[in-house]
Subunit: 595 residues, 2 copies
């Protein structure tokens, strides 16, 4: 209509009635990309006006802050990496100004399947944190290990119908994606039909394969090098700059903000271990890091608010009339110094909630997921009649979640072999080649088992190099992606002791110190992955077990978290699964004994 078609100005419904809350300060306006003095009027949980600072708008409560920013959104994370439930995660990060996470319950899905995912993500209803789900797309990781569950296209479709679902979760099988395999296409189609995004996971993918993947994917968070990130942005993907606990890529990638339109960039954590989440925070830490690396503060906040909101069509992540009142009141922007947090108009909603989360366990979470029978040394060892030494294939843990192929000669113990055997391959401690085992712990169908010993669980047995253990053993039921029970140690006896301890407590991470016979255990009873306990206590437990591991000599780069990737049979080169030693590049099981 023509310019002259004037409409009479409407009356404000506010009138002289007080609003619930008025917050004065410098608004970090992510829509206009500006900083300006405003009085943010909040009523009934929503922002109702951005008034001039001199407004005489009455309010039930008034607050003042140096800066007022929208609540932050983590564009991609796995809550399980912080080893707590969603309400506990919320209790930890909401006070830091993280009012939303887009999270992928990939680990829970591998253990508990669709029903477990449903129960886990329902925790979002018990926290002010706006936890939105991307539906795990790649469970199980392969057919060479027994996970707890399969999430097929039908299950994905069902999960996408959940109100909290915002995307198909990181699609990991890029070859299948590019080849247009129906199993992947069906999941993508289900997301598209619902108007949802499709998250990518394409580390190191470039060239033609990237162009092909970009036809389907909306984003990627796996870039580690600037050229990779730029190529992905230029292929039309949203690029998420990751600042996790182990993968800290922000400093390497940050110059991208000068090369491409920043609207297509978001910040994410991907994973934060409990101690790091407690000490440094979640995506709030990425924001302050970005600012300290020279990113314009408004741009940095945009990358953790409106950009991500646009990626997933979220109604928050901005401060504007009509938007939910999710606000962070800061005394300093650059260091992200938080005074107060407002979620849906409620000031500092988490104090009470943290208590509630601690005292009122989230229902329906499975805490009986370590299903194997007690094991003995013989169950974890490779029988061999001797004489030794015997050439074996070994995965060398070199850090950054990588392994290298190694051949080593290990002794055969025939003089005092585990009961029931005539001899077994044992550690070559001088060469730091130690036995490792992966015990199926999901009580899987017999048909999926590769056991050769009757009623014992399906156990993969092999060797690992470079852990550095001086004594004792370590073990974990957090063992990507299938999350079986992985143990490694100087002797099969101590490995069995650790495995049995983890079995007793329902999962977690355990260190056995043979010097004093002590076990140090971080109990993670929910799915053997997380605890429904305040982050403070989980972080303390994580630090205790980390310290215990260091005491017994664990020196592999990445420490215990590195251990949790030793069974991931889709990352080169060798990986031990509960079915045996996987040659990842060949995509098949190989004998540990090389001759």
């Amino acid at each position: 209509m023509g310019a002259g078609v004037a409409t009479r100005s409407g009356e404000s419904r506010r009138g002289s009635d007080p609003v619930d809350l008025l917050v004065r300060g410098t608004l970090v306006d992510v829509l206009t990309g500006t900083l300006r003095e405003r009085a943010v009027a909040v009523d009934d949980g929503a922002v109702v006006a951005l008034d001039p600072p001199e407004t005489d708008q009455p309010a039930t409560r008034e607050l003042e802050a140096a800066y007022v920013a929208p609540g932050l959104i983590d564009a991609h994370t796995h809550v399980e990496a912080s080893m707590v439930t969603i309400p506990q995660y919320g209790a930890a990060v909401v006070p830091r100004g993280v009012t939303s996470v887009v999270h992928d319950p990939h680990e829970i899905a591998n253990v508990l399947g669709p029903e477990g995912v449903r129960a886990f993500v329902a925790g979002a209803d018990r926290t002010p944190l706006k936890a939105r789900t991307t539906v795990p797309s790649s469970v199980p990781a392969s057919a060479l290990q027994d996970a707890g569950a399969t999430v097929d296209a039908d299950a994905v479709t069902d999960l996408l119908d959940d109100d909290r679902a915002v995307a198909l979760g990181e699609v990991m099988d890029v070859p299948a994606l590019v080849a247009g395999e129906e199993s992947v296409r069906a999941k993508v189609r289900a997301a598209r039909e619902r108007g949802l995004a499709v998250d990518g996971h394409a580390p190191g993918v470039t060239g033609d394969a990237l162009q092909a993947a970009a036809r389907v994917l909306d984003n990627d968070h796996e870039s580690v090098a600037p050229a990779e990130a730029r190529e992905k942005a230029e292929a039309g993907l949203r690029v998420y700059l990751r600042e996790g606990s182990t993968s800290r890529n922000l400093a390497d990638l940050v110059d991208l903000v000068n090369d491409v339109d920043t609207r297509r960039l978001s910040l994410c954590t991907d994973e934060r271990d409990p101690a790091d989440l407690l000490a440094a925070g979640g995506v709030d830490n990425a924001v302050s890091e970005a600012i300290s690396l020279g990113v314009d503060p408004v741009t940095a906040v945009q990358m953790a608010t409106v950009n991500t909101a646009e990626a997933y069509d979220l109604p928050f992540g901005r401060v504007a009339p009509g938007a939910p009142a999710d606000l962070v009141l800061l005394s300093d922007l650059g260091s992200w110094a938080v005074d107060h947090v407002v979620v849906d108009g409620v000031v500092d909603p988490v104090e009470g909630d943290a208590t509630a989360a601690a005292s009122s366990p989230q229902p329906d979470l499975s805490t009986d997921t370590v299903a194997f029978e007690p094991v003995g040394a013989a169950d974890l060892a490779i029988e061999h009649p001797g004489p030794g030494p015997v050439e074996v294939r070994v995965q060398s843990a070199v850090g950054d979640f990588r392994t290298e192929r190694l051949t080593a000669a290990v002794p055969v113990e025939t003089e005092a072999p585990p009961r029931g055997t005539d001899g077994v391959l044992v550690a070559d401690t001088t060469a730091d080649v130690l036995p490792m085992a992966v015990i199926e712990r999901h009580g899987g169908a017999e048909s999926s088992r590769v056991t050769d010993r009757g009623d014992v669980p399906a156990v993969g047995r092999g060797f690992v190099h470079n852990l550095g253990l001086d004594r004792g053993a370590v073990g974990t039921t957090v063992a990507h992606d299938a999350h079986n029970c992985l143990v490694a140690g100087r002797t099969h006896e101590t490995m069995a002791a650790v495995a049995n301890r983890l079995r007793e407590v329902g999962g977690g991470i355990c260190v056995y110190d043979s010097a004093d016979g002590s076990f140090t255990t971080l109990e993670l009873p929910v799915a053997g992955l997380v605890a429904d306990a305040p982050l403070e206590s989980v972080a303390a437990g994580f630090e205790a077990v980390t310290a215990a591991a260091a005491t017994v000599g664990l020196s592999v780069p990445g420490g215990l978290l590195e251990l949790t990737y030793q069974a991931l049979e889709v990352i080169p080169t060798y990986r031990l699964s509960n079915r045996g030693l996987v040659d990842v590049e060949r995509g098949e099981l190989v004998d540990v004994v090389a001759e």
Copy 2:
């Protein structure tokens, strides 16, 4: 997942098979906001890769261009303003690189209601132009005139279910919106429930009313002053910079690109008359204007592509793998010199289509919408026994679609009055005060009629100042918003002649020159608003009638288009509707005779 979680690069499905099309040139990449040399590979209607320029990708067809941009999207327009159907509009603008419009069939809705809207927008299936609809929200404009139809909340809801619907159309009744009246709320709710946008229309609305409106609205295209535009952007609205035929606001507003994040700005035309659309183009003209005003070319293209695509969640408006191949090949970017246009992979799709559109009329369009019985002078005149002069209330047409209130003294013709009367008020030609009439032409229900003369139609009779006519009469069935038949002239006889001519041809715009007894008529038989004819012929007709109007002296600023707003009873001050003279500020009918 961790950074080291590498996935094997996938194979491209392209292999050595030729793609359908390869376009080499400098890509205007609206996602990254950069210009760079690329070879855009197109297959099966979609972009499949952005290859390096040196690629040896085989292709069935290769094209080269200085620049390759995404097809443009007009963020808000009324196709009816160009007086053609959608296929004819498409035939005109697609070759200019406008491959999509978001259009509001507000005028059709006022004449033909929901069924007519459905038939009109179905024309989108007969053109490569991707015409997306915003559903008229404000039909009729008021209860003080008889439009052809009402589009109530139920009808809006039905229309929003059309696949082409992307938003609730411009909400004009800001007071009702701010007051939360259920009639408006129901329409807004229907849009929100479908995940669709809500377009605004808030000219001159500022302060508290703007903040309140911004809680509901997503955008506004009515800013005429920089401060107004900026305040709207700061209230969280997307701001559409309008460059229409009559409302050309771009030059005034363009500095906003330096003040706010340009992602929230879009370009639109709102309305382009046929001659202007033919000569200067649609939103392509706004892009080249923006560039000539100093806007960075990539930013200018973003404002007519990806920004608008984000506003309405459109899958095109970018050149990236997976996106529809809507491309504009340009020899020059600044002047928007188009060599070729590609839509869904089809090169220059409109040549054949223009012929098809011309030779194959769009079905189901109503062409019998001028429903009144033939009128005589007496039907259009205000009876008065005399003697004169008599004081009357007059709307003075001052341009920019504004009117001012005037009181004038007009003579009474009693010596040779129209048959059936004893005397009528007539023109004061020395003061340029001429009779005007608005004839209900929709065949509305008797109950809606205010006729006082039995079987004649419901006619509003009054006076207008400042048209400048030296002789003859002018008339139009394009008469916002109700689109009744408006006629004005030196005498009631000539006015009646024009009205009857328009009745005979089924609507349009007509000029009668009493010097030679000639009628010049632009026939607009579809709804009395548009013609299903090529833009070239409609533009020629529009220019002919414009020239004829100038010949008989029409000198009001805005010309014939100004005339089409003289019956719009929601814009101050006086407006004549078919029910009589409306005092807009008082919101009621008033007597023309002032004493």
